[in-house]
Amino acid sequence: MAVIELDGVEKHFTVRKRARADTGAPAPPTGRAGRRARTVVRAVDGLTFSIEPGAIVGYLGPNGAGKSTTVKMLTGILVPSAGRIRVAGLDPSRDRVALARKVGVVFGQRTTLWWDLPLRDSFDLVRRLYRVEAPRYRRNLDRLVGLLELEDLLDTPVRQLSLGQRMRGDLAAALLHDPEIVYLDEPTIGLDVVSKAAVREFLESINRERGTTVLLTTHDLGDVERLCSRVMVIDHGRLAFDGDLAGLRSLVPSERVVVVDLAVPLPPLVVAGVRASRTDGPRQWFTVPAGGSLADLVAQIVAGHEVSDLTVEEPAIEDVVSLIYRRGARGG
């Protein structure tokens, strides 16, 4: 039984645009000058998918692709213009309050905590609003405080927390009521490496232990690689890819770049049939075409030269995503 089901879901917004001479936008054909022209934007345009309980799904797409709109429909904040949604057996927009008890949400850019209250009081308010029984609350709080290292922060008002601290507080608040489903919107945005790792590890353990279903919206490929068994890519409100990460990569002719720091500056090397595409002092860049072997290249560089450092640059997720969409548009 799928825990999240979408069937032909659409969301349209009517946007009023003022036709203005200085922007070069053409005046609406029927309207008078200065009249606002209405255009319908299809933020989500026919989404059909389902998610099984216990999955961690990465929900990717460029800005404005419809990710947040989807999450908002799944939580009942927005009412879909067409199609059918079931989450945990409920219709989100009709049973929003009942669904709220089964769902936890973390917005990376916005806190759900109370700004002026200490973290402890915020958690206590969450407990009362969600009606979590005292023993369960105590158990969950102890566990979350331990996992997220919140012990020293409990008496600090939320407004005084750093971004990373606040994010951990938000994560704890979203999980105090044992939700079946957690939506995370950019949970690692703006976090340092250590906090990112802590958040990812935490999500993994919660998913493993409680079987919590996680839907993760992110631009960070690291989040996806570490956590997601399944990746969905959305663009222009449509599903452009649905599969695992390897499948996502193999779909795209992705070039990888090997950056080598040699011990001494050398002229551009030619190794394993690949010529350095760029040099900068002792640093040289090698572009490996899609399907080419990295292992050969690296082995031969290291065998023939003294190397002080070596890194591999994967294509950015944004590039992968836009490539997929362009392919999708071309292929129909």
Binding site: K72, I77, V97, A100, R110, T112, L117, L125, L129, Y130
Partner: protein, 274 residues
């Protein structure tokens, strides 16, 4: 019915919890809280002084005595103060919509209206209530009327109905902000403006005003019609005596309209970009 009352109890519990949390947050700046409360109370007291000044120059206003005008003032002010305590901040809905805070409210298992109403609750909201109640007590003392059981009962009934009418108008106005996020000012005309108009006998205004306050924005039912019953006066504009008992109907109508408008607003809520 049982389900509806359970929902109401739920909403009231959540309102209490949130108000308590906000009160504790307000306590972080106790001096500010104290000064704002006193300021609020002083501002309300000045209104009473205005009535005193008027009656220092004349014996009656629109055909009504000082005690009667004070009663009109006190009943509408009490209703307004209670409604302001309960629902006053719903006029900030537009701000919550723009900042995205309304999204967060919709994620919690509590009525969004309750959360908006309790938002940034501060005990200073009670600053208006104390002088209003004092004025009410004073006017009941001064009022020269035959205190029958019906008239005594009418006083709490009209205050409650008045509160509900103000709440209804507040929520109606707030619902309009789902469409136009900057409509708070337009709404203040009917709430704060309405409070001001109903502080005086409607005989000082033209009959168009009375018609508008009866049929368009039902503020005349907050205090004017039931007060005529308490005073034992015939209606100066010739409306039937039944109007004097119609405040509960007006209150129910205002609440039903508000409830429809709010639901429609939430269903058409568009959220913000991110």
């Amino acid at each position: 019915m049982a389900e509806a009352s359970a929902k109401l109890a739920d909403a009231m519990r959540a309102f209490g919890l949130l108000c308590w949390a906000w009160t504790r947050a307000a306590w972080q700046y106790p001096a500010s809280l104290l000064l704002l409360t006193v300021g609020q109370a002083l501002a309300t007291t000045l209104d009473v002084l205005a009535i005193v000044v008027i009656f220092a120059n004349t014996d009656e206003l629109g055909g009504f005595s000082a005690a009667e005008v004070l009663f009109l003032y006190a009943t509408t002010s009490t209703s307004f103060a209670i409604a302001d305590t309960l629902m006053g901040t719903v006029e900030r809905l537009g701000r919550h919509v723009r900042s995205g805070a309304f999204d967060v409210m919709l994620l919690r298992p509590v009525s969004a209206l309750v959360q908006v109403a309790a938002d940034t609750f501060s005990p200073r909201r009670l600053g208006k209530l104390v002088p209003a109640l004092a004025a009410l007590a004073l006017s009941l003392n001064l009022l020269d009327t035959q205190w029958t059981a019906g008239r005594i009962l009418m006083v709490p009934v009209m205050v409650i109905c008045g509160t509900l009418i103000y709440c209804g108008i507040w929520v109606l106005g707030a619902s309009y902000q789902f469409v136009a996020a900057d409509a708070a000012e337009a709404m203040n005309v009917t709430t704060y403006g309405g409070n001001y108009v109903t502080q005086y006998p409607l005989t000082v205004f033209s009959s168009e005003w009375v018609r508008a306050l009866t049929w368009v924005v039902p503020l005349a039912f907050v205090n004017w019609y039931p007060a005529l019953y308490v005073f034992g006066r015939p209606d100066p504009h010739g409306y039937p005596a039944g109007m004097q008992f119609a405040s509960p109907i007006a209150a129910v109508l205002a609440l039903v309209a508000a409830s429809f408008a709010w639901r429609a607003g939430v269903r058409h809520y568009r959220s913000t970009g991110s």
